[in-house]
């Protein structure tokens, strides 16, 4: 026997289940008015004062059969237009950086309206290309899936994560396609052809 480490282990994840919206997005579940204010309905505290370009990202989460899931719920986290994370010194006071959004129960499409993030310098002074972190949960997803949205009209050439991906065509799964002024398309494929790159963070 050796000494015991005084450490714990993270509680095991369990699926968010089909009724996740009751807890996290009551209005979506048909229970509008349950809370005076729901968490994360928008990443803006005041959209009119937020710095940077407002963007709308539309997409679907497809399962391995190509079906757009109607019950996926996503959370996003990102820095502001200046590359500063909310809560850190100098961050945009009109922006929280966090949003909750869900696939529409009829169409399976989600929309994220936010500011386009700036870039920031990370480990070793290497600059990350602008990106939004995502966490995807749903019935059938046993542990939340982490991924990122990058933008096709930004310089992604030196991003340390994208450069890590050996199979170059898979990089495209992380890049939102521009569909109009301030509008992007970003689909998430859980499995099969074009499977999105998911991260162990």
């Amino acid at each position: 026997m050796v000494q015991k480490l005084e450490t714990l282990i993270e509680s095991a994840s369990q699926t968010a289940g089909p009724y996740v919206h009751i807890g996290l997005m009551p209005t979506y579940a048909g229970n509008a008015g349950y809370y005076d204010e729901e968490i994360g309905t928008t990443p803006f505290l005041d959209e009119s004062k937020a710095k940077g370009e407002i963007v709308e990202i539309v997409g679907s989460v497809f399962d391995g059969t190509g079906w757009a899931m109607r019950d996926a719920l996503i959370e996003s986290w990102q820095c502001d237009a200046g590359g500063v994370f909310p809560g850190d010194k100098g961050a945009d006071p009109a922006f929280t950086g966090h949003c909750r959004f869900a696939a529409d129960a009829e169409s399976g499409e989600f929309t994220l309206r936010t500011v386009k993030p700036g870039s920031y310098k990370g480990r070793g002074g290497v600059e990350s290309a602008p990106h939004i972190s995502l966490w995807v949960v749903a019935r059938g997803i046993n542990i939340g899936l982490n991924t990122r949205i990058y933008f096709e009209d930004e310089d992604n050439a030196n991003d340390p994560l994208l450069n890590r991906i050996e199979q170059r065509p898979r990089v495209n799964t992380l890049i939102a396609k521009k569909t109009g002024d301030g509008k992007y398309r970003f689909d998430i494929r859980l499995q099969g052809e074009g499977e999105t790159v998911f991260l162990d963070i």
Binding site: L8, I9, A12, D63, E75, G140
Partner: protein
């Protein structure tokens, strides 16, 4: 000020795998490629913060937070309480804990739930609170009922409460489920059995906590939640090749 530390890696042998064939819905909803391992960047070691201004004081009382004036939810009255800790066994204070659950008959208040058990007009089924300086939280609610679901022809979920926790960083974001000591359905549940190790299942099973009960009023269960631990940066990481 110490550097903001990175997190210990997730133990992927402790957590459920993405693909668990006996939980049928996971089959088409699980990635086939390996996850790309990414050492924490600022995007992962920061995260949204919430305060008491974001919630109402009564949000943690599910017996009354949806009830008509003078009425209350039907069912076995319980207190669910415990602490949010990290893997260093330190409390996680000021973090948002959200729960949702079926009513005492096993029916969710959700437009997609069509189980024949009735809706309780005085029960909404969700609550939220913020941990105190010791990482402690509590809810008052009714014990949820077991309910059937379509996996095998005859599958029943054990009584459970869904729990969502933020922690201090996006890397700690976690959703899990709280089960109850002594539930005979626990060993039969394909969702619970996605947790590979028996100790992992026990960690998700709340203990009857007689000392915390309120005599003649409410029974109590204790449910501690553990989030990923953060490294103390005694020495900076040396980058390979630097």
């Amino acid at each position: 000020m110490p550097l903001k530390g990175e997190f210990y890696q997730r133990d992927r042998e402790w957590h459920p795998k993405a693909y668990t064939h006996d939980y049928k819905t996971s089959v088409a909803r699980s990635p086939r490629q390996s996850l790309i391992s990414l050492e924490n960047t600022v995007s992962e070691i920061t995260g949204p913060r919430f305060g008491h201004g974001d919630i109402d004081p009564g949000d943690n009382d599910l017996i009354y937070n949806y009830a008509q004036s003078g009425e209350s939810a039907i069912g076995e009255r319980i207190i669910l309480h415990g602490r949010v800790l990290d893997e260093n066994a330190r409390p996680v204070p000021n973090t948002l804990v959200e729960i949702w659950q079926a009513n005492a008959g096993g029916r969710y208040r959700h437009k997609k739930d069509t189980y024949l058990a009735p809706i309780d007009p005085n029960f909404g089924g969700c609550g939220r609170t913020i941990t105190d300086e010791n990482g402690y939280y509590f809810f008052r609610t009714v014990k949820p009922g077991a309910y059937p679901w379509r996996n095998w022809v005859n599958s029943w979920r054990p009584a459970h409460i869904h729990v969502s926790i933020f922690g201090t960083a996006f890397a700690q974001r976690l959703i899990t489920q709280c089960y109850f000591e002594g539930d005979p359905l626990i060993p039969h549940c394909p969702i619970l059995k996605t947790v590979p190790m028996q100790e992992g299942i026990e960690q998700l099973t709340a203990a009857l906590d007689l000392n915390a009960t309120i005599p003649l009023d409410t029974i109590a269960y204790k449910f501690d939640i553990v989030l990923r631990g953060r490294r103390s940066t005694l020495f900076e990481n040396r980058l390979e090749g630097n």
